[in-house]
Amino acid sequence: MLNRKIKLAGLFLIAALLITSVGLGAAEVEEEVVFLPTNDEHGVIENFDRIAWYRQQVEEEYDTVFLVSGGDVFSGNPVVDEYVIDDENLRGKPIIGLMNLAGYDALVIGNHEFDYGQDILQDRIEQAEFPMILANFDAEEAPYLEQPEPYTILETNKGFPVAFLGLVQITEAGIPSTHPGNLDGIEFFAPVDTALEYEFLRDEASIFVGLTHLGHSWDQDLAEAMGSLDLIIGGHSHSVVENPPLVNDVLVAQAGADTNYLGKIVVELGSDGQVLSRRGELISIDDIDEADPDVTAEIDYYEDQVDEIFSRELAQLDEGISGDMALGSLMTDAALTELDADFAAQNAGGIRVSELDPEITVGSVFELEPFGNELVIYEMNADDIRSLLQFSYERRSTVDLYVGGLHYEVAVNEIGLVDSIELYYPDGTPLDEDKVYQMVLSSYVADTYEYTARDEGHNTYRRHNDTIIDFIERISAEELAQYNEEDRISTTSVPGGEGTEIGRTEVGLSTEGMDRGSVSAGNLKADAVRHVLDIDFGTYPTDQLNSGVDLDSGPVYQEALEFALYGSFAYDNNVTVATVTGENLEKMFHNQNEWFGGPATQVSGLTYEVVMEDGDVVETSLFKDGEPVDPQAEYTVGFNSYVYQFYSEGVDVIDSYTTDRTELEILLDYVEEIGEFGEELAEERISIIE
């Protein structure tokens, strides 16, 4: 029997050091073994040349080096995820090829390794020149996957065995975090329970490593339950563990994600193979400044195929698919069809192109939905769906959610708030008010919108752009062309509308014409910033005004200010007050006008002229009290705290601070203080000279 690990619990605990170290110290060191782990690479291939080079350097210094992965090498980079060459599905091939070249020694199969399907995972296991291991599952009934080894035992250069046991986290549903459709015929087991069945490996190895994809917190549970391990090299939680802790005498490490970090764990072995010490640290990939040229060449080879990957044709139409209604309908139909749900909703801000060209490619889908948002399913009844649609409409004062599987009609009152929403099936039949439906939302909508639901929702682990690709490949060109005819949403106006009256105005609050100059809603907001903060100039970014809103004169309702007019209010932004010279303030405005293609800023306390030629902004001039601003004078100016970064980019700012109060709070304070508003809101503060 080989030497068992020598227990040192409680002897050494060096906490506040960048390097964690524990060991006997006095015994003679026979061999130094280094583990270089990465985890959650998620298709990031660009750093493997530096990892390979670093491994070579470490090999010169130490006796043995093991380069290993804590799993989830797939999913996150289209070069890897969409690697279909000459109609051959080779997803994942680039990263496994690079890991072969970099000299990886072992990998635990993480949840995302199942994302491409079992057949592709099997191909990648066969491609890998290193063991891909996993213990806590049974794939005997799996149609396309052969049972991988649960563990592997590698030898150091001096012949000491090192055991790696592979474990993956499972959810409350008893499966890893991937789409269940990828897991036919596979049964998973609780990772700690499974690990305990492999304690015999302690007796077969000098170093016993849990190579896990559980998450740092779960790794600590494993360590508590299984002190026979020497190390846990983990993944899944993307934890940047700079000081690997010693838990129950098990060193628990993890190296962030996306190959931004490389762990380095040094284990000293005595002459009988006993562990004398362990120490761990984390190396930033940015600190590795050389690269293996052969691996670099291979990375270049794959990255040069981006155009080919993105140009893969999915469909060829006679004309493109245009407009938010058509594209939103396509995106939602893709989501609900591929996930076999009842309905789906897509926010307008997540539709990133105005048209898909007649030749629809992988690349055009990634332009349409570049975020790779995962799709989430909620159980919702009709009122839950109304709550979602009402929130969405009122946050932008316009139709914001496009839908699949249903149609809706929203009635809006005179202050821009939703009066009622009628829900229909596509054939015009009203939804069953008592039925519970499966509604698909992107994770972004799930996170940032307000709504009720019958359950807490669950991740499907399918990315929206993947479902769109699959859906487009599934349906005919004729069916795709029909999306240009879709009309699933209608709005009507209804009289009335009561809210909380906090002021009155002689001028209607409007955003109409905002692209060409001052609008009353913009003037009101900029005035509020200047007055409440007692500064020289107030501003509000024109692109944050909700377009096409025109509220009547008369009462000013708090609800209208909250929801109808100002898009940035949904983000709880504050106001950043900057002190700048007149010259630099003019630069700020001009830069934004150039970007916007016209007057980009609603203002208070100043006026400005924009000179345009052939549609381009060529000059911006600022005036205070009718005179050009003094280039050398210092002015205090209030900006939306988020867009301030764009205004201040490349411009010297003397000083700045950001308010604790939000923009909305400042505006409400102002309206309640002033109470009555008149023609000043209708002032034209911006002029365009063409």
Partner: protein, 66 residues
């Protein structure tokens, strides 16, 4: 599933990542983390990256980036 950010209870869907909880907590803070101005620290004192998995009842704190 519940997690805690700066001692505030956040409800997220099953299978959510840190990114989802942070967006639910505050879109503004989320953007500050994305931009690198702030970082998320877990209950063990480690930075956790946005795509990392969540464990129910785990706690996080927002700190200024170094």
């Amino acid at each position: 599933m519940k997690v805690y950010i700066n001692d505030t209870e956040i409800e997220v869907f099953q299978g959510a990542k840190l990114e989802n909880a942070l967006r639910r907590y505050s879109k503004k803070v989320y953007r500050e983390v994305v931009s690198g101005k702030k970082v998320v620290i877990d209950q063990y004192g480690n930075q956790q990256l946005l795509q990392g998995s969540l464990r129910s009842e785990s706690a996080f704190w927002i700190e200024e980036a170094d």
